[in-house]
Amino acid sequence: MALVTINGQTLEVPDGTNVIQAAALAGFDIPHYCYHPGLPIDGNCRMCLVEVEGARGPQIACNTILKATRNKEGVEVPAAVVHTETDAVRQMRQGVMEFLLLNHPIDCPVCDQAGECGLQDYYMEHGKYNHRSVVPKVEKLKAQPIGPNVILDQERCILCSRCVRFTRDVTKTHELVIAGRGDKSRIEVFPGTQLDNDYATNVVDLCPVGALTSRDFRFKKRVWFLQTAETICTGCSRGCNVHLDHEGGKAYRYRPRQNESVNQWWMCDRGRFTYKAVNEGRQRDARVGSETVPFARATQELRQFLTSGKVGFVVGGQASLEDIAIAKWLAAALGARLWGLDWTEPGKEDDFLMKADLTPNRRGLALLGLDADEAAFRAELPGLSALITLGVTLPEDLVHPRIAALVTHAAAVPPGAALVLPVAVHAERQAAYVNCDGIIQHVQAAFEPSGDALPASSLLALQAAGLGHPLPFDRDGVWKRLEAELGVMA
């Protein structure tokens, strides 16, 4: 551990902490562009200049690395005595901002980054508010697609090199490069190549300005109209932590959310665009056979199914831990059979984040001890009076005349399903999922489910209550019982 004094406040930080991180712990924000905790330090933007006592001139906080320091008497002393809020430091930040904006087009009204732009944000606090440049700006390329998912505007770029370092040091795919020199420097891709790797769109999140924007998201919505929920990507079993940005019951994008033990700062593009499934292909109406029915009628039907005698449940990897728990308790109360099975085709896997298992909660099935014996399921299926499916897409060869399917998406409706009930997706509810490494991750609801849809766990809990088997209806109740019965801790 090292001692550091920030603006008169002395604190202890782990060896190797830099002054930006240490200042944050002390409650001081040191503005920065090029520094990113997930990338090697580059020190080019000069925005994080601070005063360090005893140093020759101002120092960049990002490269001022703290380590345990002792004086001649062997007494531990601060590794650095830092001032981040002096007039001198403020003046330096103003100076750097002025340089960064010198050749910036200031095209904020037509820039998709507006509202979440590092230049705008820091200018509020550190700007000169005294525009004095009358020199012509260096002209570069604007709005150039550089790959399937990313648009580059060279003029807005402040050459912080985060994107270059990402493709060099994280993906090691080397598509992006700084070409040229001096104020003619610009980001380029090489002729005949594109920024087209599995993690390409992370450069959009990394870009602190409007130089790299998402082809999918740009101009869909001004960001200040968006609200944000903390959830996870359900595109595979990694469960990358994300912000889901939404408005009016519609999801607009995922942005990765830092979680050191799951996805660090990143997510793959395959998962990133699964936010679309929140909006698209959803099962909106309840059906009996092929007929759309009022939701209340469908729940009455479901009750018939549940009381039909020899009932079976099959729960898949899309179901949340709460769904699985309620299904398990209800099945037990009804004396029904219960399997945890999933037939989702595996996808691409790599040695970084992408997992072949494209379900978010297959580990949850095992955690709650569901029977994964497919052969037994196949053998018993014909003898069941009714099959309730939840969070699973049945293979086409598995048919039964009385299937009640609780589905989020139309594509999951089994052919010939006797009863279909729409349920909420992860974005519409509180839920928990167990990722590929066994980490239980809780998600926030972004918005209410549309129409009459409910979280599957709530739907089944209501049914249970109607059948005289009260089960917890909300998340807290589910978890209280989970903790008590199974020792599964949130």
Partner: protein, 185 residues
């Protein structure tokens, strides 16, 4: 959404570049001089440029195919090679005319007529002095150069990344241009 990605950087030449045997032998001599292959990048770019320069059928430029060949021989990404090449002024990352004439217009040369030499040369071959560039007939590319360490022998120019022509005068400039025009006729 499916709009094609923009093409940056240099075009490809009609005939893709490949290192010839002499160049490959040269590269084999270069590689052991460094503990890491990437360090050979500047020397190998020189080898490539010299081969390009010696082949009148090729455009006088490090076209995309040349950059790719350099990247392949060193196991580097082409974009990386392009980024490095464009940092340095002597690699032909832009097309260059039959003769590249760079006039030093740094401090010491300017004190004794470097700017006037540059302006005169631009006038003679028909290049806009504000930007430099290549004459309409493609014969001359004229650029300002920054200090070439010939301050005591100023004003001066460098011809084709090679010989220094020092103590330049109007007469010597005229004679040089004429000889170059003669030679390329």
């Amino acid at each position: 959404m499916t709009e094609a990605a923009t093409t940056f950087g240099p075009p490809s030449a009609p005939v893709a570049f490949a290192f010839n045997e002499a160049s490959l032998a040269h590269i084999r001599r270069i590689l052991p001089r460094y503990p890491q292959q990437q360090a050979a990048l500047l020397p190998v770019l020189w080898v490539a440029q010299e081969q390009v320069d010696a082949d009148p059928s090729r455009p006088r430029q490090l076209t995309a195919d040349v950059i790719k060949a350099v990247a392949d021989v060193l196991g580097l990404a082409p974009a990386y090679v392009w980024g490095v090449a464009t940092f340095y002024t002597m690699y032909f990352t832009q097309p260059v005319g039959k003769h590249l004439i760079e006039v030093c217009t740094s401090v010491a040369c300017c004190l004794v007529g470097g700017e006037e030499l540059y302006q005169r040369l631009c006038d003679r071959v028909g290049v806009d002095p504000s930007s430099g560039g290549t004459s309409a007939d493609g014969r001359f590319t004229v650029r300002r150069a920054e200090c070439l360490a010939a301050c005591g022998y100023a004003p001066m120019l460098q011809l084709d990344n090679g010989a220094f022509h020092e103590h330049m005068t109007d007469e010597k400039l005229d004679a040089l241009i004429e000889s170059l025009q003669e030679a390329s006729r």
